[in-house]
């Protein structure tokens, strides 16, 4: 399957943090043709294992991209059948009005997030963002029927399928970090063209958006020698400063800072340079908001690198991605893995 097609399918599957069963099953099935062994754990983390084709010792590498997504949860149903809700993960309340959603109750129900008509709002009120606690979802059902189908605590996801913008840009929801899952899939294909030593675990992690919890567990289980976290970063956005964002068209972004292993990161950059793959550098002075933060300190410690893709309007329903970046990042990652044969440990020596 082509990467864009896979991304389009992945973002249609619900997987709000903590409720990743469906997306986890789909990712498991997607990994199968390209891995020797695929399994899931109790947390819905998916592990795909690919053994090296080259003789000699190589590292055990773990890649991690999260499969969970931000979303909403039913908080209450009022006497007229309107659903109030709260957010799971960081959601800007200002994107919510008029959004189309699916409520995952006993059945999957369509609904819209409505609001008070503007002419019935005071002047001061109209200057403020509508707070999420004042918003409701209209599912078009009477309260009795609705309460049969929907319970407090049911998950709500956004309806926003992948669309093409001007080539090679695509737009949709939950590209953070389903694009990372696609990138791992593309890396598997790239690795099939190369020879590499050691073994590679492709882990689609759960609960990243609520504290990288899937990464904590999966890194402990895999016990890797080297970690590669894969996530999104901010793409250039007109209303954000240049220092906080990255050009959308250069290529993957390699993060530097205390959360990343300096020597291993140097090696990653050298592989990029040697193969003519353009990249950008993101400076992360503290902990990154990615799985890298948890992979790095698992058990006795895991030297970790972080590869990112610039994404515009992160955590909205119209996240914008340059699809070419995924291909470039997958090629870089595969070449990086293949670069580590016997004696790979040397590159980690301080």
């Amino acid at each position: 399957m082509d990467g864009k097609e896979l991304l389009s399918r992945l973002i249609e599957i619900p997987g709000v943090s903590g409720y990743e069963d469906q997306i986890s099953d789909m990712v498991r099935d997607t990994f199968r043709p390209y891995c020797q062994e695929v399994h899931q754990d109790a947390f819905y983390n998916v592990y795909g294992k690919k053994a090296g084709t080259k003789q000699g010792l190589g590292p055990k590498v773990m890649l991690a991209a999260h499969l969970d997504e931000i979303g909403l949860m039913v908080k209450d149903i009022d006497e007229k059948g309107f659903i109030s809700f709260t957010n799971i993960g960081g959601v800007d309340q200002r994107i919510l009005l008029s959004q189309e959603v699916y409520i995952h109750g006993k059945e999957k129900l369509f609904g819209v997030i409505g609001a008070k008509p503007p002419h019935l709002q005071g002047k001061e009120e109209a200057k403020k963002a509508v707070p999420v606690k004042e918003m409701v979802i209209d599912a078009g059902l009477d309260p009795k029927r609705l309460k049969e189908l929907v319970s407090i605590g049911d998950l709500i996801t956004f309806k926003s399928p992948l669309i093409d913008l001007n080539e090679p840009y695509v737009c949709g929801k939950s590209i953070d970090d389903r694009a990372g899952v696609v990138m791992m899939y593309e890396t598997m294909k790239e690795l099939d063209k190369l020879v590499f030593a050691g073994e590679v675990y492709f882990v689609a992690t759960a609960q990243e958006e609520v504290g990288t919890r899937g990464a904590i567990i999966s890194t402990y289980s895999v016990e890797p020698d080297i970690g590669i976290a894969i996530d999104v970063t901010h793409g250039d956005t007109p209303d954000a400063s240049k220092e906080e964002t990255h050009n959308m068209d250069t290529g993957p972004v390699i993060a530097v800072g205390p959360n990343m292993h300096p020597k291993l990161t140097d090696r990653l950059m050298n592989v990029a340079k040697d193969n003519g793959i353009d990249y950008l550098i993101e400076v992360e002075p503290g902990l990154t908001g990615t799985d890298a933060r948890s992979i790095q300190v698992s058990r006795q410690g895991v030297p970790t690198v972080l590869i990112e893709f610039p994404l515009r309007y992160m955590h909205t329903t119209v996240e914008v991605l340059n699809m070419d970046t995924i291909k470039k990042a997958a090629r870089l990652t595969a070449l990086f893995i293949a670069s580590m044969g016997e004696g790979w440990e040397e590159c980690l020596t301080y």
């Binding site: 959004q99 189309e100 369509f110 409505g114 963002a129 509508v130 209209d138 913008l165 737009c171 909205t316």
Partner: protein, 339 residues
Amino acid sequence: MSDLLKRLVSAKGASGNEDEVRQLIIEEITPLTHQVTVDRMGNVIGYKRGSVPGKKVMLCAHMDEVGFIITRIEENGMLKFGTIGSIDARILPSKRIRIGNEGIPGVFGIKAIHLQEPAERETAVKAKQLYIDIGAKTREEAERKVKPGDYAVFDSEMVYFGEGKVKSRALDDRAGCAALIEALKADCPFDLYACFTVQEEVGIRGAKVAAYNIKPDMALIIEGTTCSDVPGIEPQNFSTRMGMGPAISIADLSSYSNKKMVAYLIERAEKASIPYQIKESLTGGNDAGEIQRSRGGVMTSVVSIPCRYIHSPSSVMDLEDFNNTIRLVQEFLKGCEAL
């Protein structure tokens, strides 16, 4: 009936750029009328000759919708825009639109929540600060797809959901257009003018010239109106209520309805057991405002289909209300000429 509605809401028609919806309406009403004309402003008028000449009755629904117009292409390939009609800018972030006649996809971006100051998240977004992203890297790239002056509408298809509900953009007033077209299928003895107006959303401009040309004796306007029976609104501020039938206006900001027509609408509704409601607020305006004051004055009244979240990509309407509106208009056409 809802197939017709679906076709109508699928056609783009921001005020001033109604071509697509106009062509569709012409196709739909040609078999139902004796003559179809398009006037100088782009209003479509279907004429149905009566067996007993005399009174001229005008039915009216506006075909335009709220939307956007591209004002400028920035160096970085982003588009600036103006709003056509009344749209609360707070609904715009993270929504999709279709630009130009080809429907080039674009989105209203907003910087990620991670890059916002806490106070920003509490502040209403203004249209001025927003921009449209079509995925163009440069002005030149954007210019290959769009140009200043291109119109745009929300990207939102009709969805059937809940119990007999539909969600779409442009229900105001394609629902009225669809109801009018359906009502046209009924026979009536007098000369009937089915009028589909342009530019209602930018100041009731099409109806003004249409009424002048038609010179009707009476006009019934079929409108999609605010339905405010939603949380946070006190019942005394409800304008209409969903599922309670077509709303008959006594008055709104643009016109006072003719009392005889209102009484007749109520009489016909009760006789035919059609649920109806009286529009409870004086807010809003519609084509009646201009038609009523055309030439020496025209008797007007308004029947509205309640639409929640009007002027948004996700307006919601009850199909029963829609069907009952068609029935009420057809009932009204039986004998209204005697008023």
